[in-house]
Symmetry: C2
Subunit: 202 residues, 2 copies
DNA sequence: CTCGGGATTGACTGACCAGTCAATCTGTCC
DNA sequence: GGACAGATTGACTGGTCAGTCAATCCCGAG
C-alpha cells in the first residue's frame, strides 16, 4: 500500500507540474520534457503514468469539470430563488479561480475555449454544464420569475459566456485582480444577467 | 499594373483558401501544403506572398478586426439610445457571421478565444473593442440610462462574452442555426444584457 | 525579338519532439 | 537473501513540417 501511495503521489506530482507548465507556456508550446523537468522526474516516467501528453490535459480537465458539474447539480436542488442559484454557480467558479488560478487558466484556455482541439473532444462534458444551467432558467420561467422570451439555452450560454469572459479578463490582465474584485464579480455577473444593465424606473 | 493586379488576386486566393482550411482543420492541425493545395497553387508561392504561416492568420484577423472596430466607432457617434447602440454592434457581428461563417469561426476560434497563442499577440486590438464598448456603457451611465453599480469594463466584457458565446454555440452546433435564429439573436442578446432575465413587476 | 524581373514551382533540409525501450534501481514478500 | 514487480531512468528513433532555394516560367517593355 505504501508503494501504491507513492505511485499516486508521483502521478499527482506530474499532474501538478503539468498545470504549472501548461499555464505558463500553453499546452501546444510546451514539451513533455518541460513537464518532467518541472516535476523533477525523468522523461520516461511521464509515460509510465500517462498514455500521452493529451491524456494529461484530459485528466486535469475531467477531474475538475466533474467537480463543477456536481456543484451545479447540488445548487439546482436547493430551494432558493433562481437568481441565488446562478449566484451560487458564479461564486463556485470564481472561488475555483481564486483557489487555483493556474488550473482554471488551463481548463479555460486549453479546453473550454479551445473548441477546435480539446474543446471538441470534451464537448459533451462542456455542454452538460450548459444543459444544467438551462434547466435552472427553464424552471425559473415556469415559476414566472424569469421572462420567457429568452430561450433557456440562450440564457445559459449568455450566463456562462459572461462568467468565462470575466475569468479570461483576469487571466490576461484585462481586469484588475484581487479579493475585492472576486467578491464583486460574484454579484455583478448575476446582477448584469438577471437584473440587466438598464435602470428600472420607480 | 495588370501584373500587380494578378498578384493581388493570387494573394487573395491564398488568403481565402486559408480561411477554408483553418476553419475546417484548425490552424495548428493544418499544414501549409494544405493551404497551397486548396488554393491550387505551388507550396513555395505561399511563401512568396507571406513571411510565415502565422502571418496568414495575422492578416486575416487584422483585416476583419479593423472593420469591426470601425463599425463600433461609427455606431458610437450616432445619436441613438445606448441599448440601440449595443443592438447595432451585436447585429454587425451576427451579420459578419452570417456573411462569412468560416472567417468568423477562424477569428474567434483561432485568435479571439486562443488567448495563449494568437490572442496574446493581438491582445491590444482585441482590448480596443472592449474599450470602445465600455465607453458606450460609461456614457449611458452618465446619462442615467444604465445603472452605475456595474463598472463599464465589466459590462463590456459581459456583453462581448455573451455575443461570442452565442457565435461559438452556432459554430459548434450547440445552438440551432438559421436566418430566424440570427435575427432573434440580435435582439435576445441585448434584451438579456440590458433588460435582464428577470421579469419586471408591473 | 530579347531581355529583365517578378511569379511560380516543388524537392529538399534542418529542427523539433512525442513516444519507445532496454537497462537499472528499489522496496517487499516469502 | 534472493527474486519478483513495479518504479525510474534517459538515450534514441521515426515522423512531421515550416521554411529555403535554385530552377523555370512568362509577361511587358524597349
Amino acid at each position: 500500500m505504501a508503494r501504491t501511495q507513492a505511485a499516486i503521489d508521483k502521478r499527482r506530482l506530474i499532474l501538478d507540474a503539468a498545470v504549472r507548465v501548461f499555464a505558463s507556456q500553453g499546452f501546444h508550446t510546451c514539451r513533455v520534457s518541460d513537464i518532467a523537468d518541472e516535476a523533477r522526474v525523468a522523461y520516461g516516467l511521464v509515460y509510465h503514468y500517462f498514455k500521452s501528453k493529451d491524456e494529461i490535459l484530459d485528466t486535469l480537465f475531467l477531474e475538475r469539470w466533474d467537480i463543477l458539474l456536481h456543484a451545479i447539480s447540488e445548487v439546482d436542488v436547493l430551494d432558493i430563488p433562481p437568481r441565488e442559484k446562478l449566484q451560487a454557480i458564479a461564486s463556485f467558479i470564481v472561488e475555483s479561480y481564486r483557489h487555483d488560478p493556474d488550473l482554471m487558466k488551463v481548463i479555460i484556455v486549453e479546453v473550454t475555449r479551445a473548441a477546435n482541439t480539446f474543446g471538441r473532444t470534451h464537448l459533451p462534458q462542456i455542454r452538460q454544464a450548459y444543459v444544467q444551467i438551462a434547466a435552472i432558467v427553464e424552471r425559473a420561467q415556469r415559476d414566472r420569475v424569469f421572462r420567457n422570451d429568452v430561450t433557456p439555452d440562450f440564457a445559459a450560454l449568455a450566463f456562462y459566456g459572461a462568467v468565462e469572459q470575466v475569468l479570461t479578463g483576469w487571466i490576461f490582465s484585462l481586469l484588475p485582480v484581487g479579493d475585492r474584485e472576486y467578491e464583486d464579480a460574484k454579484t455583478l455577473i448575476v446582477e448584469t444577467i438577471c437584473g440587466g444593465l438598464e435602470r428600472v424606473e420607480g
